[in-house]
Structures are given as C-alpha cells and as structure tokens.
Subunit: 330 residues, 2 copies
DNA sequence: TTGTATGCGTTATCAC
DNA sequence: GTGATAACGCATACAA
C-alpha cells in the first residue's frame, strides 16, 4: 500500500509538495503538479486519512443514533440529516441502539475517542446530567425525541399541541369516550402527548378516565393488545388516540376482527404519518411531522456546534399537521 | 483534552506504561497500575483512537451499505451483522446509498482511506470488474443481493428455487393465469426469480405470457400501478407473484378496490416476509428469507476476509421458506 | 515555489 | 517491570 512517501520518491519531490497537491494548495507549479498526479495514478495511491485526521483532529464523520431502523419514521429524518451533512462535507452514518444503554455508550465512545465529529440523538436513555456533561466537551444535538431540561440544542415538534389537536378532532367528530394508547416510558414526547390528550378532554368537559389510558411499546402487536383490552371490558369507547401509527394500525385490526368498524363504531388517530398509514383500510388519520425538515434542522444545529463550541443553545420547534383520513371521518 | 503524555506526567511514569495499562498488558505492577488508573480518572482522559488506529492500521469499524432503510427487510439482516460484529469487537455502521453510484463511491472511499476495516454490500451498482479490483485490496462481502460473476464471498438464498416454489404453490392452488410483478433492474435476484417463475409455469404446461410480466420498483405504489394494468386489460389473471412484499400488498389493495377479492378471485404471493405481511387483510403468503442468519453469515465471511487476506472465496446459500397465509388459500 | 523538520497521540521495539 | 524512543501517515510552520 503506497504512502505519501512513496509518491514523493516516485515524483522526485518532497512529501510536502505531494501533500500540497492532495489538498490542492495554490502554491505549487503546474509542472510539479502534473508529475505528482502521475505518480499518484501510477502507484494507485490512496491517502490514509487516519494520518490526516490525527493531524487535523477531525474526521468529517457524524453518527446518527436511532433506536432501530425497524421504525420507518426515521428514514426521512435521516435523509434530511444526510443531505445537509453531505453538502458540508460530512459523511453520515447510522447506528442502531435498540434502546440499550450500553450500545449507546459504545457509540458515544467513538465520539469521545475522536473517531467521529458529532452525534445526533434520535432518542436517548441518558440522563440530562449525562447529556450536559457530554455536551460540554463534544458536539451533540437532539432530534425529534429529547430529554427535558438537558442544556443542549434540539429540534422537534410541539407534541403537546399535536396531541391536543388530534384529540380535539375526535371530539369534533362527536366522539365522547376516547381512549389513549400511550407508553410507560418517560420521554418528553410521551408526557406531552398525554398532557395534550387530557387538556383536550378537559376543555370539552369530558372526564378523564385513567382506565382507558393504556401503555404500549409503539409496535403493531402492542396496538392489537391494547385494543383487545379496551374492547373486552365494558368501556364502550368510540375513539382511540395512539402515540404511534403502528399501534393505531394494530388497534384498527383488532376492532375489525371484533366485528366493529372504523370509523363508524370507533374512530382511530395515530402519530407520525409513516408510509403504512395510507396502505391500510381505512387510511389512518394521524399527526404528520415534517421529518425531512427535522433532519435538516438537526444537522444544521450540529454543524453550528461543531464549528463553534460556544454556539448558542437552540430549541427549535417545527410545525406539525393533522392528516385527516378515513379512520376518523365517515 | 488530556493526552497519554499528560497521564504519564501526572502518574510519574512513562507513556509506555500508561499504554500498557490501557491495553491491560500483564507485565505491569499492581502499584503502577493503580497510580495510572487514578491519573486517568482525575484527568478524565479519553484515549484518542486516531493515534491508535494509525499505529495499528485498523479501526474496528465496518460499514453496511444498504440501498435505503425505508425498506424494512434489511433491519433483521443488519441485526445479525451487528451481533456477530460486536462479539468480535467491531462497531457496525449503516450507510444509505439510495442506489446512487456516487454515494456508494463516497463510502467506498472510507474503506480505501483506511477509515473502516471492511464493507458489506446489501446491493451494489458496481460492476463485477470493479468489485474484483476492490476485493483484491480491501475486505468486502456481498449479502442477499449480489453481482453474478464477481469473485468475492457472498451469502444469499437460492432465488431461483424460491420463485419456483412460490409459483408452484399458486399452480397447486388451481391458478392458471399467473402474472409476475418484477423489476427492470438486472440484479441477480431479479433474473433468478424470473427464471424460477418461468420454469414453474413451463413445468406445469402453462404458456409464458410476456404481457403479464410487469416491472415495478419494489415499492407499494408500483404494486398498485402494476395491478391496475393487469386488471384493466383483459388478461383475466387469477394469480400474482411479486418480487417484493410491498408490491404484493399494493396489488392486493388494487384488487380489493376493484371489487375483486383475494384470494378467491386472485391469489397473491410476495417476497421477503417483512412485518407488514401479517398486518394486511388477508395476510400475505410470501417467501421468508432467514434475514438474521444472512446477516450473521455475511459478517462471519467479512471477518475471515479481514483476518486473512487470502481467505477462500465462499458462496453460501441459505434455506428459504414459503410462508402460506390467507392471500393464497381460501 | 519548494523542502526540511516537527508534531498529531498512539503502540511497539528495544534496552535496561 | 519499566522507560526511551522510533515508528504510523500526514499536514504545516518555517526556511530557503
């Protein structure tokens, strides 16, 4: 494997000159330029960027930590991150954490060990104290999901307002006994969505019943399960608000299997507007997040942080949209 | 940011000793060990792995190139790759190529520039000549999709046999006019699946009609579109074999929208057994690939290649399974 | 414009 | 068991 030394020798110049050619410095004669280029070609030389990175103390690589790519919600967000990253000369790589703390630590180590220049968290199990500590020394940013109170830049939608809007929509459709399929986790999004749900009921003069707020894990099966519970017992619900589309789709399946129909008997609203919302029958009413823009924004925030350690901490909130489809409107 | 030098100074030992502690070499006294550890703690020292990697000419990072994480088929494969990789001390990162050649080149550059130790291709736009050239100098492996004739290790199922089995199943269910939703690409899998489809028809004495072999792009919408074509014209089909589940699900939707029913009027078979196959109505009959094992196998092959440049080239074929569900059986 | 020499942060090879 | 010190491959301040 040829090194810069070999090229220098072959071109009969110093390594400095070769380096200059590689980084196309203006101060190198046309002639030497050519000679060096030829040598590079002939030796099939590939610069070892480990050397360069060590020297420059940067790698131009950034990591995106996502719980799991099984959740297609992240795909568009990642595209936004990639596009802005690439425009600025950064390579973006994805890492699955599977919501496991030690896996998160492994990738965090890559940051601390200077193997990557920054990390975007799509969700994290770290405490706000831990995040603050890391952010003091290394560039990190939160995207979509975030830990409340952590003192670092983030971008997301207003989950409270979104849930409020979704539930109010159900109420306007005449629904009065609206269940929620939520989660046991303490993510900011969960807390805010529950708060928005409750506020909407309260504003409409509907009593909140803890019994019809069930936990799920965002997945299809947990939607099936939750709906089954809601139907077996005598809750007599006529609406469901789920904090993920997959759970909403699972709930619809259970409802139909029980001989009831959506939206006539029970209207259903999901969250995220993943692709499958328009594939199911009926199509799912849901909250659409501006995924691509969230990604772009996150990368922009990270770049600011990388370029300027003392960059202002920003909390950006993007607009969401209620996509009204067949699952709530007869 | 503290370096190994700082630690050495603080602990009043040489950098060599610190390095030994870091790599827990046995030949270092209990006492010094402790002193060094304390210094590391106090300085909050994080080794800069760029230095280590430069020295060792390895990074313990490997890249998985996937066309797009929008396709959930890859999720389980990636899990297999990660598990075997992690067991062996490697960090696995995902890169989206979006089937764009230049994006593929960018990540390939990371390999050539020694920023990563190897690459697993889940699909590639490179020619077999290009792949052979790369494989001569750097560890690469193909997984699931592959370029025929490329002289490097790969792992996949037998796409020919799988398609043959799927179509034969339709025939056994009494179907006689079976359409195929395929692709215009020239991937080995496509070619082989088409061949298997034709062979099955031929064996059953059914004539092959090029008119009912339509192209798609693996996505839901192209499934909708293809089915629409098949239904408008007077093809009178009673079965569809699609080379992706998403297209099969799209086709089912079109069929139902046209007042026909699955499987009574038209039976449908997909390919891959992604999660959504059991979420749709009726559930989709499909070919299940051993995704996790494919991932494990790919990583194992890559490790062999990394550890021994002259490792034998292997072409591993894993078993597939026809998952018979409601979309083909009344 | 070009070359020399030094340093980036490690690990590894020697001596001792 | 420990410490100097020379690499690893590159970029760059400084001299020329």
């Amino acid at each position: 494997m040829a090194t810069i030394q070999d090229v220098a020798k072959a071109a009969k110049v110093s390594v400095a000159t070769v380096s200059r050619v590689l980084n196309n410095s203006p101060s190198v004669s046309e002639k030497k330029q050519q000679v060096v280029m030829r040598a590079i070609q002939e030796l099939n030389y590939q610069p070892n960027l480990l050397g360069r990175n060590l020297r420059r103390t940067e790698t131009k690589m950034i990591l995106v930590l996502v719980p799991t790519i099984f959740n297609t919600f992240y795909a568009k967000v990642v595209k936004g991150i990639e596009d802005i990253g690439n425009e600025n000369g950064y390579n973006v790589m994805l890492c699955n954490t599977y919501a496991e703390k030690n896996r998160e630590q492994v990738f965090l180590k890559q940051l601390k060990n200077r193997l990557v220049d920054g990390i975007i968290f799509m969700a994290t199990g770290l405490s706000k104290e831990a995040l603050n500590e890391i952010n003091q020394h290394f560039p990190i940013v939160q995207c979509c999901e975030y830990i409340k109170g952590a003192n670092l830049s983030r971008i997301s939608i207003d989950n409270y307002a979104a849930a409020y809007k979704a539930v109010t929509h159900l109420i306007r459709q005449g629904r009065k006994r609206i269940a929620m399929i939520s989660s046991l986790n303490k993510l900011a999004s969960t807390v805010e969505r529950e708060a928005g749900y409750k506020k909407a009921l309260e504003n409409a003069g509907i009593a909140i019943e803890p019994d019809i707020i069930l936990p799920g894990d965002y997945g299809f099966k947990s939607g099936l399960r939750a709906a089954r519970q809601l139907l077996t017992k005598e809750f007599n619900i006529d609406g469901i608000f789920a904090i993920s589309d997959m759970m909403a789709i699972g709930a619809m399946k259970t409802i139909k299997e029980n001989g009831l129909s959506v939206p006539e008997d029970i209207a259903v609203v999901g969250f995220d507007d993943i692709r499958y919302t328009s594939m199911c029958e009926p199509q799912l009413t849901t909250i659409s997040q501006p995924q691509y823009d969230l990604g772009c924004g996150a990368m922009t925030l990270l770049l600011k942080r990388i370029q300027n350690e003392k960059a202002d901490i920003e909390h950006i909130v993007l607009e969401h949209e209620l996509m009204i489809r067949g699952s709530t409107v007869i």
